[in-house]
């Protein structure tokens, strides 16, 4: 289970929630609206929100990679030439 800890970040939770909220707007709430313009805008907003949700997930992964790389860079290089003098 420890490998899955990388998924337990706010980015994954917020991104997934945003994406499903977008689906709800586009496919459930939007079609139920009476006014045509409102229906179109809600559906369009839903599509954008889905894209945004997936983007937030990717952003979380990118930030994790950056942090992990910063840690790696901060560690002393074990593979370089050793001072044997």
């Amino acid at each position: 289970m420890s490998r899955l800890r990388v998924l337990a970040t706010p980015y994954w939770a917020i991104g997934t929630s945003l994406a499903f909220l977008g689906v709800a707007l586009a496919r459930v709430i939007g079609p139920a609206l009476a006014e045509d313009a409102a229906r179109r805008y809600t559906a369009a907003g839903g599509h954008v929100l889905v894209g945004l949700g997936l983007f937030v997930i990717c952003l979380g992964v990118r930030n994790r990679l950056r942090a992990a790389n910063a840690d790696t860079a901060a560690e002393p290089d074990q593979t370089g030439p050793q001072n044997t003098a």
Partner: protein
């Protein structure tokens, strides 16, 4: 013996001569298609066009236009009565009479216009490629097989590690797919036909196949043939576009150092699950394609080696070969000689060209916004022909600077291009259906 017509022994030649007197357009169409088939095959062999597709397609085009014969009365009648009736009642009557007299021209390969069940069952036992066409082609299964294979080859980690760059380039490279729709409508196509031909700009064969089958079934043969022809051309033509629009100095730019830590398989798998579920909820019409793509990705990330071997070998290459062969066989002169084909040829190249230009403009914007660090050549990889466009970009960069590696970033844009094209397919199918 004195009544023996020697030409009747060689019906391919006899039907050709007869079509010259009956309908010269068909005669020239058949000869032209045979020559074109040979040219495609030659260009495939030379590597100018994609050989995996062009060799079976070219040979299929030669064979179907050469192998026209007089169908026996039963087969001819099955085709004449099983297809949608002609608008002109007299013409339909004449067609059925010709078929009953055993004088109808046709082949023993494929009868794509037959729709009625009884006649279709009969044709399935006669034409050798009809089972492939009926059970794999017309329901989009072959496109789904190709997407499963492509999914296994895709690494979504490239997108997840560089989301801004990948998504921006992928959206920029959809310029042709979006801009061609109003142009096509202005040229007299219906919105459904316009959307189908505009998808050529996505440079994603299965998507074009799926969109045209869903939106413009009557035009799917010429649209798909044009699409695959141009996808082959993209491989040979995009390098010239890159050299024309990006100076060698910029093509030689080295990318900034990359992260050492990689995206984990769990993250990629979770992304595939969320992405597939959300996109299928949003675009149920495109869910077969989306499922196929994400299934391939999930299988890769789950490490199911037996499935990976199955999908990236027999399924992907088997589907590619039969797709090429079926497309070639569909290029029979009488089927493809439609006045709209010329418009499709123009629109297809416009769409692909605009997408390429859009991608490169996106690459230039990324170059400027990154403080001149990002190589603008990766923009072309936003066009989602996986992995050809990424390979083309890397090849052109290597020619200018052998130590510059842009492939990881290019593949990120390329993979994101596939997802963007799938989303655009869903939007078009939802809006225009």
């Amino acid at each position: 013996m004195e009544n023996l017509d020697i030409l009747h022994l060689f019906q391919g030649v006899e039907t050709l001569i007869q079509s010259f007197s009956d309908n010269p357009a068909i005669f020239f169409g058949r000869v032209g298609m045979m020559v074109l088939g040979m040219v495609l095959l030659y260009m495939g062999k030379k590597g100018i066009l994609e050989p995996l597709l062009m060799i079976p397609m070219g040979l299929g085009m030669c064979a179907v236009n050469a192998g026209v014969l007089f169908l026996d009365p039963q087969t001819g009648s099955a085709i004449a009565q099983g297809s949608a009736p002609l608008a002109d009642v007299a013409a339909q009557g004449q067609l059925e009479a010709t078929a009953a007299a055993g004088q109808m021209h046709g082949t023993l390969m494929l009868a794509p216009l037959v729709e009625k069940t009884d006649q279709l069952m009969y044709i399935l036992q006669i034409d050798f490629l009809q089972p492939i066409y009926t059970f794999m082609f017309s329901n989009g299964l072959i496109a789904c097989f190709m997407f499963m294979g492509i999914g296994v080859l895709l690494d979504v980690g490239f997108v997840m590690a560089r989301p801004y760059l990948s998504m921006f380039l992928a959206i920029a490279a959809e310029f042709g797919t979006i801009a061609t729709v109003p142009i096509a409508i202005a040229l007299g196509l219906t919105p459904q036909e316009a959307a189908s031909v505009a998808m050529v700009g996505g440079a994603d064969g299965p998507m074009v196949l799926f969109t045209s089958l869903t939106l413009a079934k009557h035009m799917f043969v010429p649209i798909t043939v044009v699409a695959y022809l141009y996808l082959g051309l993209a491989y040979g033509g995009y390098p010239y576009l890159i050299r024309f629009l990006i100076p060698a100095k910029l093509r030689a730019i080295k990318m900034p150092p990359r992260a050492k830590v990689k995206v984990t398989a769990d993250e990629k798998l979770a992304f595939a699950v969320v992405g597939c579920t959300v996109l299928c909820l949003l675009f149920p019409s495109a869910s077969p394609l989306l499922l196929s793509l994400f299934l391939g990705i999930a299988i890769r990330e789950a490490g199911l080696q037996y499935f990976i071997n199955l999908l990236d070998g027999p399924v992907l290459y088997g589907a590619t070969m039969f797709l090429g062969l079926t497309l070639g066989v569909l290029c029979e002169a009488s089927l493809i000689l439609d006045p709209k084909v010329l418009i499709l040829l123009v629109l297809g190249i416009v769409s692909l060209l605009l997408s390429g230009i859009g991608g490169i403009v996106g690459g230039y914007l990324a170059y400027f916004f990154s403080g001149r660090k990002i190589n603008p050549t990766i923009g072309i990889a936003g066009v989602s022909c996986v992995p050809s466009c990424a390979k083309v970009a890397q090849k052109e960069v290597t020619k200018s600077n052998p130590v510059s590696i842009i492939l990881p970033e290019a593949l990120g844009a390329n993979v994101c291009g596939v997802i963007t094209t799938a989303i655009l397919t869903g939007i078009y199918v939802t809006i225009f259906r």
